[in-house]
Symmetry: C2
Subunit: 152 residues, 2 copies
DNA sequence: CCCTTTAGTCAATATCATTGACTTATAGAC
DNA sequence: GTCTATAAGTCAATGATATTGACTAAAGGG
């Protein structure tokens, strides 16, 4: 049985590759499921995942500059421009000039923006919360160890 | 300390939400890192991630029909049509009529297609292999438990 | 007064997906 | 053999998105 607690014992090359491929598929399907909830809510407002990412990271880094957001999301200025402008236009994100350096715009969530962001991310947090409760703290920590390894 | 083995003890609502948000970010950044390698290789040939997904699942389900592939990828017929036609045109995927039912096309990787698929997925398998070796079998299994929970 | 940085925009182009309708070929039931 | 259903493929129209490159405007700092 693949993925049994001792799958790696007596492992041939073939089912070793198989185990890695199943891990790839887990990532693919899990990520798809993970983004499905917010995507549905966003679609009702004519928004998409890129808007969620902006709302999310602006919420996490209150007052972040446009440049810093570009680097965090790893997208081009032009790719960010359209969705960000929409969000500012819908008054979900504010972009007042920074006090010290008026060239820099400080991006913040408005009250409305925060509400939407929490609704979007809330579906994902509920998903994770349920799983983490099910599997327990050890599994949760091990999961994080693996995930951290994936971008280092 | 967030994410310490006993982070959930004496947890306030605020840093509990913080822990869940860090998990969300782990997923986002890990997935991005995970797809970056194949994306670079694909770009050299004028292909993109959707081509990789087709190559991947055709490789995993040799002889799969177009309909079944549509359902697996959860995309529309028209969204699949263009990239699949390219892959057939480049002779990376074959689509011979099935023996029993000549309406159904059996999608298979050609020798060239298999070579490219293994190169693409190979970068991801190497990534995972390294991490799984680092963290050990227990963490690997716990990681899978969590990932499986995410689409059930 | 230059030079740099930050933000924002425009034009042109290319890609990508979506809906809906349609054709072709085959299978299976009667 | 006719009728209906299924599988695949295509086309047109549309809309959304991203990309490159160049450009303006405002502000900061020596």
């Amino acid at each position: 049985m693949l993925f049994s607690p001792n799958y790696y014992i007596n492992m041939t090359d073939v089912n070793y590759e198989d185990a890695l491929r199943e891990a790839i598929e887990l990532l693919y399907f899990a990520y798809r499921e993970f983004t499905a909830g917010p995507d549905r809510i966003l679609a009702q407002r004519g928004l998409n995942r890129s808007h969620h990412r902006i709302l999310y990271f602006v919420g996490r880094h209150d007052g972040i500059s446009v440049m810093a957001l570009l680097e965090l999301l790893a997208v081009s200025k032009q790719a960010l421009n359209a969705p960000l402008r929409q969000l500012v236009g819908m008054e979900l994100v504010s972009n007042a000039p920074a006090a010290g350096d008026r060239r820099r715009k400080e991006l913040c969530l408005t009250a409305e923006g925060r509400k939407l962001e929490q609704r979007l991310t809330g579906t994902q947090m509920k998903q994770l919360e349920k799983i983490f409760e099910n599997v327990g703290p050890q599994a949760t920590n091990q999961w994080r160890r693996v995930m951290r390894g994936m971008y280092e």
